[in-house]
């Protein structure tokens, strides 16, 4: 695929955001490759630890920053992915548009709740 053919997508789609969607899905994917691998291996190591150890681990600045970076990339990636699936399979227009809005808002709320929790653990311990 040549780069010039990618740029043609820029003006396509109802919101003319086709290229931005495609591009952000790739950027978040690249970020999630190391971040998600780091997280699942960390969680595997932390599976049997006590509450205090878990809180201490999360409040470490490096872990906190990487955790928030992961959460931002993962929820953004999930928003784009779920939107693509809804665009493909929900054929009634009003239902498609409203389900995309609801899915994006719910995921945004979950993202804010997650970041709030990480910050609360980091600053209270």
């Amino acid at each position: 695929m040549s780069s010039s053919s990618n740029w043609k997508i820029h003006d396509l789609g109802a919101s003319r955001k086709g290229l931005h969607h495609w591009w952000m899905q790739r950027i978040t994917a690249v970020a999630l490759m190391p971040l998600s691998a780091w997280l699942v291996f960390s969680l595997a190591c932390l599976a049997n630890v006590q509450y205090e150890t878990l809180v201490l681990w999360t409040s470490d600045p490096l872990h906190g920053v990487l955790l928030i970076a992961f959460l931002l990339a993962a929820y953004y990636h999930a928003m784009l992915g779920l939107q693509t699936i809804l665009e493909d399979y929900v054929h009634t227009e009003w239902l498609r548009i409203s389900s995309i809005i609801v899915s994006n808002l719910v995921l945004l709320l979950l993202l804010v709740a997650s970041i709030f929790s990480v910050l609360k653990i980091a600053f209270l311990h």
Binding site: A29, N48, I121
Partner: protein, 140 residues
């Protein structure tokens, strides 16, 4: 002879609608492994969203309700937990490996049949190996 030709004409009409020949559909077409992995990529993606909801729930409890954390930590002693967690981990690594393949595809490489089949096997092998190593790290 006339009666036969009328019968033939009726044969193509069911419920007053003409029956037209249809091209082969998904149910008669044997999908290649690459296509299955593509469908599975979407399914694992949705599954991972459920995982994110569970992760956020755990973070909220960890931050706001230390006493309730006991309930979540007790889930790890539950005998059914590995039965859910192991397929979930495999789903995660499959999505991860197929995502990596998409990034390779985005550079314009790996589209011919030989390389596509090679990448099919490679991404499944990577997912199996990483799931196994994750389980090994967990049990150490």
């Amino acid at each position: 002879m006339v009666a036969v030709s009328i019968f033939k004409a009726d044969y193509h009409i069911v419920m007053n609608k003409p029956v037209r020949p249809l091209s082969p559909h998904l149910q008669v077409y044997r999908l290649p492994l690459t296509a299955w992995l593509s469908i599975i990529h979407r399914m694992t993606g949705v599954l991972l969203v459920l995982g994110m909801i569970a992760f956020t729930t755990a973070l909220l409890v960890l931050a706001n309700n230390p006493t309730d954390w006991q309930i979540i930590s007790q889930l790890s002693t539950f005998s059914l937990t590995p039965l859910i967690l192991l397929p979930f981990c495999f789903s995660f690594w499959l999505h991860w490996a197929h995502g990596l393949r998409h990034l390779i595809w985005d550079t314009g490489r790996g589209f011919n049949l030989k390389n596509a089949r090679l990448l099919d096997g490679l991404e499944i092998a990577v997912a199996v190996l990483l799931t196994a190593s994750l389980w090994l790290v967990h049990t150490l």
